[in-house]
Every structure is written in C-alpha cells, then in structure tokens.
Symmetry: C2
Subunit: 239 residues, 2 copies
C-alpha cells in the first residue's frame, strides 16, 4: 500500500494547530509515534473509535451495535483482513491511531502504538462514531468544551445502565461527560442532536447518580491512561 506524502515535523510533537490538521496529516503524525488524545483535532471531520475482533466474533459485535445504536454508531466496517478503506483513504488501521489497547480472553495484554505484530487476516475492524466530532460545533455555538480548554481527554464513566446484549457481547453503558452551564444545556442538546452518527444528543442531563455514577472523579481506566482506542462508548466483553 502506498501511503500519502505528508510533511512531518522534524520531531513528533503535538502540532501548533491540531484543529486545522487534515485527517491524513493527523494520521501520519500518529503513525510516526505521536501519542495524544484527539479531542479538538481535525475540526469538521468525523472522529472515530475502533473495535477490532476476530471474524468469529464479528456478527455479535455488529448485532450489539445494531441493538445499541446510540452507544455504537457504526460508521464503517473493514472486512476480515482489510487494513484500509474509504474512511481512512491511504491510511493503515494498524498504525494510524495514537494508541491501541489489546485484549486477549477479556484481559488487557498490551497498549502499543502499532498493532502490526498483533494483526491477523481474520480480524474485522469496526469504525464507530466518536463524540469528539461534534465538539467544534459546540464551540462554534459559543459553548466551551472544558476538556479541550484544559488540554486533557474527555471524562468517561462506566454507568449502571446495561446495554442490550448480543451473543457473546454484553456490558454497561459507558458515557462521556461535558460540564455545561444550565443556560446553555438546551443549545448543547440541540447542536449534538444533529450528529446521531457520533452518539448525538446526551443520554442524560442532570444528575450523574441516576446513571450510577457516584463520583465524577472516578473516571474509567481508559481515560486515566489517556487512551481512547479500542474503546466503545458501550464496552463489551470481547472474546
């Protein structure tokens, strides 16, 4: 596969203006080793989460997404063994993401920046819409996004709400959270509702305890590690 020509900075540092970076250039930075949350990057383009599973589990994952479209809005699927596709033209799904989390038998075994040595020809890739996509629209509507202002990843929480299971796939609803002044909540709902393919309007506004979140300081491990990859809003037990 021929990768696109892009100008890399001499050292792989965070670019001065990530919001203005075209996706192919962002992917080239990640391919070269940059590790960073991507909130605020490539404004106006869809961002995605990744789920990669063996073909034997692929039906269950796709059925889980069909039954939980709000949690797992599928933007595209790469067939078994495919490592690129129209959603990442010229890219390589094994290298072009800042960081991956690799699970085996339900246990995390690796957090590489490249999964080439884990790749198998029976792996099916699901590209799932990410709510980072609508953050620039929130900002364009005068709504500040706290974690972008702070330069950190979005807070995420495992809730007590169960997703609809599908075959081997089951798990709690996982949510991201954005603190927004009460006077702007209606605007935030209106803006995000236009983006159903990247989770859309909030599943809840108001009291985190109603979702079983007792402590807004207790984020998921995925957030603490700074990694979002291989993370679905609704985490499931992949085999």
């Amino acid at each position: 596969m021929t990768l696109p020509q892009v100008n890399l900075p001499s050292a792989v540092g965070r670019p001065a203006n990530p919001a203005g970076l075209p996706p192919a250039e962002a992917r080239a930075l990640f391919r070269a080793g940059l590790v960073t949350p991507t909130s605020g990057w490539s404004s106006g383009y869809a961002q995605a989460n990744l789920i990669i599973v063996p073909k034997a589990q692929a039906f269950d994952v796709l059925l889980f997404a069909q039954r939980n479209p709000k949690s797992c809005p599928v933007l595209g699927v790469l067939d078994a063994g495919e490592t690129s596709g129209p959603l990442l033209a010229g890219g390589d799904i094994r290298t072009d993401v800042p960081k991956y989390v690799v699970y085996q038998d339900g246990r995390k075994v690796d957090e590489p920046t490249d999964i080439s040595n884990h790749w198998r020809d029976d792996l099916v890739t699901f590209i799932v819409g990410c709510s980072f996509t609508f953050e620039s629209a929130l900002q364009d509507n005068g709504i500040r996004v706290a974690h972008i202002d702070q330069g950190v990843n979005v807070p995420m929480y495992r809730t007590s709400v169960r997703c609809e299971p599908a075959g081997q796939m089951a798990g709690p609803l996982v949510v991201s959270m954005r603190p927004i002044p009460a006077s702007q909540v209606a605007d935030a709902v209106r803006v995000t509702s236009r983006y159903p393919a990247v989770h859309g309007a909030p599943v809840h506004v108001g009291n985190p305890a109603e979702l079983g979140i007792a402590d807004l300081g207790g984020r998921t491990s995925a957030t603490r590690s700074g990694s979002r990859t291989a993370m679905c809003r609704s985490s499931g037990r992949a085999g």
Copy 2:
C-alpha cells in the same frame, strides 16, 4: 411456546377490517393458513419483511444492511435458532407469515406457508422494516394508495442501481412504487420521511427509466406471485 388466545373466524378468509386487526390476530390468521398481501393491514403497527439465513451468512447480511440502511432497515434480529422475540410477542416466525420463499444455493426451491420443516437451529432471522407501515399515514394525509384501493400487492421493481456489497451479499436495489398526483408528491415525501425505519422517503421521484425501469408493467417475480416474504427491498444473493 404458548401461543396467545385469539378468536379465529370459522373459515380462514380475509377479515372484514384488516386495517383494524391487532398484529397478534393477523399472525393467527396467517398461521391458520390465510395467504394474502398485507398492505393495508394492522394500521398503526410496523410491518416487516423477513430474511432468514444460516449463521455462517449472518454477518454478511447484517453488514449488507449496515451498508444499505435505506434498503434494509433492520428492526430486529432473532439469534440463531430463536423462533420468536419481542417484535412478535407470542408468535412463531416459522408459521406466522402468509407465505415464504425458500432458496437453496441461490435457487427458489419452495413457496410454503409454513417453514417448520425447513427450520434449523443455526438459522438467524432478520426483521426488516416494510414500507406498508407508512401507507396508513399517507391515507391519513389524504393521499390515496392505489394498490390498497385495488386490493393488490404493491408494485415492485428490480432497478439498475447496485447496492453496496458485503461479503457474499450483493444485488440490485429493489424498489416499491406508488403512483401519486404531482400536487401531492411533496406531502408524500414529507410523510414518508418520518419513517426511516421502514425505508422512509422515496429513493426516486419522477422518471422510472433513471433507475433502469423501462416498463412499469414488468414487476418482479415476487410481486407476481403475491408473496413478499423473504424479500428484501434490496435483494441479495444469499448462499
């Protein structure tokens, strides 16, 4: 499984008021042997088409639906071997449809009113939204539905438009057609657009030749036989 108690007419004829029949009673009539198109039945309830395939093909079918959501809006999936589910509470997918078309190796081998003797524990059932659902909404908005007035099945056509393939699944877009006076077309589009889960707004308005339909008299075989079951708007080559 216990089937619901319903009052069956002494002979299985077409009921006087099919539009007012609750779905469980309609299913009981079909289970008892009534064969009829269901356009105009059970007004206000979703109607569905059926696709049943071996588990080995199920991922390709679901992926085909994900890539062609306008053609194959999946309302629900019954896991391998399941014969009932929440969308047909108390029903049995093997008996409760007026007529089935059974394919083997891509060839039609049977058109039974009951597929119990074809059933296998590895069969996965896809319940796909049917445009009959929005016809009562069209009528409520003063738009006449010609095939209901005439008591026949909706005209359907195989077009020259290709669906997005998925694994083993590929095939042309198949459309239903409703002749509507030009002055009511905008209303018809507005009304049907509210029902994306059952195909929604038309894929085309105007000139059938643009979809490769040379002759509006040349309907698909599925229409000629009066059977809709196992027919997806986008037919695919199931193995």
